[in-house]
Symmetry: C2
Subunit: 384 residues, 2 copies
């Protein structure tokens, strides 16, 4: 908490059009990396009524059936008929993927011969806070759980009138830096035409909101906005054009931490936008797990084709048990933040990205999410 006493974060479900685009981009990335882990991939997706376009730059030795991958992702999400507004089996799939620029490839390759230069310039942040068990800010943590629950109730058939597209938003009140109450919660979900607004509102409140949010934080002044437009039958790409990389705050810390601007999905790990942001999370989480600080943010930056970061800085917002400069020295000692170091440290040249593309890249302790491990905490702690 950067000293705010009220803070709001949002999330979106896997059926939100921007998130569909992210998942398609990452599914394409995974398919290419499975066969050729050294591929360079930068794939963007645009989804709009009746179509999905993939475009970008790839350098690889493998061949993958892109159309099949795109259709598969859309169908898995649940867009499988015109009734729900989109059908992965029959939509148009257009492909405008070209080769990686020879100039970029050369620059990064020459650096690779020595020490893998960064695949682009850029700035990235990592963050962790002890306000939840998984060391994530509470507002984004709960915003994710709301839309994850929506998808679960939809896919398991418990609330069969739920449809894929949904958004959540959580406003928390803080006291002494810890969340204590929910001031407002917003949940909009796409739905079948045959459910009344009042039935929908009641079910969403009982089965989603009350199920997910801690009971002691809900109080008589909590504002509930459930489908406040009144109707949300048209959803997905038909209601809103979706693009890869347009949910970068949902993907990270819900606005509680700073952001360098780079998107993740569709990018192979030679792109520091992704690898250094993942490493930043890993660094910050281990520092907090080690008890060196209650909150920690790290900024790193890179120049294209250059391995050594152009800057590394630490901010513990006054909660550190060592000075920020001392912690920064520890980081340089325990973590290799050069592009090749990032990839090796987190084992990133694997087809592990599609599951990252919905419900948060951070704060889920899944097996392949190596950046969530706290295996450096003991070593860092010994510095105290």
């Amino acid at each position: 908490m950067s000293n705010y006493s009220i803070f709001t974060s949002e999330s979106v479900s896997e059926g939100h059009p921007d998130k569909m685009a992210d998942q398609i981009s990452d599914a394409v990335l995974d398919a290419i990396l499975s066969d050729d882990p050294n591929s360079r991939v930068a794939v963007e997706t645009l989804v709009k009524t009746g179509m999905a376009i993939i475009a970008g730059e790839v350098r690889t030795n493998t061949y993958v059936d892109l159309e099949e991958i795109v259709r598969g992702v859309i169908l898995d999400i649940g867009y499988d008929s015109s009734d729900v507004g989109f059908d992965g089996a029959s939509c148009a799939v257009l492909n405008a993927i070209g080769k990686q620029s020879g100039d970029i490839a050369m620059g990064v390759d020459e650096a690779e011969a020595k020490d893998l230069g960064a695949g682009d310039q850029g700035l990235m942040f990592g963050y962790a806070t002890n306000e939840t068990d998984v060391l994530m800010p509470a507002p984004i943590y709960y915003a994710h759980r709301l839309v994850e629950r929506q998808a679960h109730l939809r896919k398991s058939g418990v609330l069969p009138w739920l449809r894929p597209d949904a958004k959540s938003q959580v406003t928390l009140r803080y006291a002494d830096g810890k969340p204590v109450a929910v001031d407002a919660v917003v949940l909009s979900t796409q739905h079948a035409p045959d459910i009344s607004l009042s039935d929908l509102q009641e079910a969403v409140r009982e089965e989603i909101i009350n199920h997910v949010l801690p009971e002691e934080w809900l109080h008589s002044d909590t504002l509930y906005h459930i489908n406040p437009t009144g109707q949300f039958i048209i959803g997905g790409p038909m209601g809103d054009c979706g693009l890869t990389g347009r949910k970068i705050i949902v993907d990270t810390y819900g606005g509680m931490a700073h952001h360098g601007g780079g998107a993740f999905s569709g990018k192979d790990p030679s792109k520091v936008d992704r690898s250094a942001a993942y490493a930043g999370r890993y660094v910050a989480k281990n520092i907090v797990a080690a008890g060196l600080a209650e909150r920690c943010e790290i900024q790193v930056s890179y120049a294209i084709g250059v391995a050594e970061p152009t800057s590394i800085s630490i901010n513990t917002f006054g909660t550190g048990r060592l000075s920020d400069d001392e912690i920064a020295s520890l980081v340089r000692e325990h973590f290799d933040l050069r592009p090749r170091g990032l990839i090796e440290m987190l084992d990133l040249k694997r087809p592990i990205y599609r599951p990252t593309a919905s419900y948060g890249h951070f704060g889920r302790e899944l097996e392949n999410f190596t950046w969530e491990k706290t295996d450096k905490a003991a070593a860092l702690q010994s510095a105290l």
Copy 2:
């Protein structure tokens, strides 16, 4: 400065593919708003080798020649032949714009009848700091000036081998919260094939970097990375697929402030992603201009179809002359942060957006940038 002692921000030129997409989206928006100021517009653009695709949702009473607008923007930027990698006169222009969803329109319209409900949910931040005259963070301020200078030298013909695509990055060292030195500067520019790397590096250093950055901040340890990949002939959409809304940190505070995640370009002012972020800048700038704080950040959030913000909070990072809660009360008193209030306060239903789409939405005191005015400072000051 959130207590960082080193901070890095980046910018990109108007010829960068993501920025091309932003400018196209905003040119389309302007054309539609010129004729029908009540139009609802959400236009996304994708540019890739040889093509520009526009897609999204519009509700309007006017007809505009979209193809001509798209071509005009591309040619104005300077992509006018296959030699530079893209030609606005002959590229493909594809259009996948549909109608605004009836469900959204209805929700926002019904609220409008009373008090204009927000066009979407979301969280937005505004920021100002007294570290530069225009009350912007110094790293993003100078990063913009570098690429603006690149475009000026290119368009005026002073350095005729410059081409449209370019990126800059500035790492500043702070002491006592004020910038004191440049630790590193990165500038990559597209160029004609007939200039040598050493000539390019010398000219960029003399004519761009030394011209823009304060001399007293450059020192013998300043790192210069000028075209570090060695070659950057292939540029624009041929080197990198561009999308609207993918430079949201460049568009705002360079990572120094928090970000809610919403993009600006192509969105009419009924979308709070844009109007409330502009208003947030206006609020924060007036608070700093009034001397109520040295730095100020505001977060606001909305629910779709609902006029009253779901939250408003202020953070002055300990620099306030009143408490953050007292400043928040002043904000509620002096600024109407309901969606209709935002539009009226800043006169946003005008075709003023294309110039916002490169070199920063904030920190340029141009005539139509009403959100940069400090006309509320005197009233706020009287509260002291």
